[in-house]
Symmetry: C2
């Protein structure tokens, strides 16, 4: 069986950076935007459309989507089915890290499921400010509002797609707060957990 | 600064066993029942009364309890104040592990705060059955009901005492599901996290 790590993360928690570093340390494949491109190929939707799908579309739970009814499927359903199939395919093919896309639910019985969060909002705001151009005016309050809005959308997408709560530790094997731990230490801790989880 | 690990845990998750094993591995002090005995000495209540306090009493939030009004304090308030003072005292004295008693909230800025849970109810039921005498009739449904009742009480006690949610990852640095990981691996993972958390 392949060793898969799924990473779900709060916006501004450092989750994506952690996933990339993990892939480097463990020398295994990393699926994030590459996953979207592959789904685009399978569905004939553009990568941009798929990336935005989770923020703009009215999702139906996966249980109502099946290939028998493929002619009746909405674009959202089509993307979800392709995403599920593709995630299952790569999970059979190679050890890898998959960021977001409800992979924790799709691979709930086999993957090492990690959730990255930051209980301290200030550390999330600081992390997001690094990516804001120096000449752009972005008040802290507005930044905080945006961070919470992205989280809310991720939670909604996860809930509609899987029927599970996104911010509920029951859906993960390991949850790490990066507020004090930071990104580098979180990577080391996940490496430790990954080795233990898949050890005989 | 002393290195403190606080352990909060779902009933039947293996949290107390993990805490004891951790104390052995790290060769540091372990406070669970010993803490109750110390609070008994400070308050003149019996250890049994204190142990049961969180299950039978109507708690008031700590913010309303202060020494100025000590003559007006209920037994619950008296216990909470003694508990808070004693936990702060031992946290200044020695590296240690503290199980429950809202220590994660009392030491929220300094301790390495761990939550142990088991998302799979069957593993919790199995763990609890080990402690049931062979001649005692205990249907699975009844056992599950008891497990959920203890969790509910711990959540209520935590919420009333600290104003924080017990089963909310925001109140911990690390949350570990023991359903698949098991007790021994969880101990190794916490040791790893503990070293990283307190490393320079």
């Amino acid at each position: 069986m392949k060793k898969i790590i799924t990473i779900n993360r709060q916006f501004g928690s450092g989750g994506r950076e952690i996933a990339k570093r993990l892939a480097d340390v463990l020398q295994i494949a990393y699926y994030d935007k590459a996953l979207i491109n592959q789904i685009a190929e399978k569905t004939s939707f553009s990568p941009e459309f798929i990336a935005e799908a989770s923020e703009t579309m009215n999702f139906q739970p996966l249980v109502f989507a099946n290939t028998f009814a493929s002619n009746l499927l909405s674009p959202a359903d089509t993307i979800q089915i392709a995403q599920t199939e593709f995630i299952k395919e790569i999970a059979e093919k190679e050890d890898c890290i998959i960021v977001g896309r409800c992979a924790n639910s799709i691979l709930e019985d086999t993957a090492f499921k990690v959730f990255i969060y930051a209980s301290d909002m200030d550390t999330r705001i600081e992390r997001c400010y690094v990516k804001v151009p120096a000449d752009q005016d972005m008040p802290r309050k507005k930044m905080e509002k945006q961070i919470l809005a992205v989280d809310k959308q991720r939670a909604k997408y996860h809930s509609f797609t899987t029927g599970q709560e996104w911010f509920d530790m029951n859906n993960y094997d390991l949850c790490i707060d990066t507020s004090k731990m930071g990104v580098k230490k979180a990577v080391e801790l996940i490496v430790c957990g990954y080795k233990l989880y898949f050890a005989e």
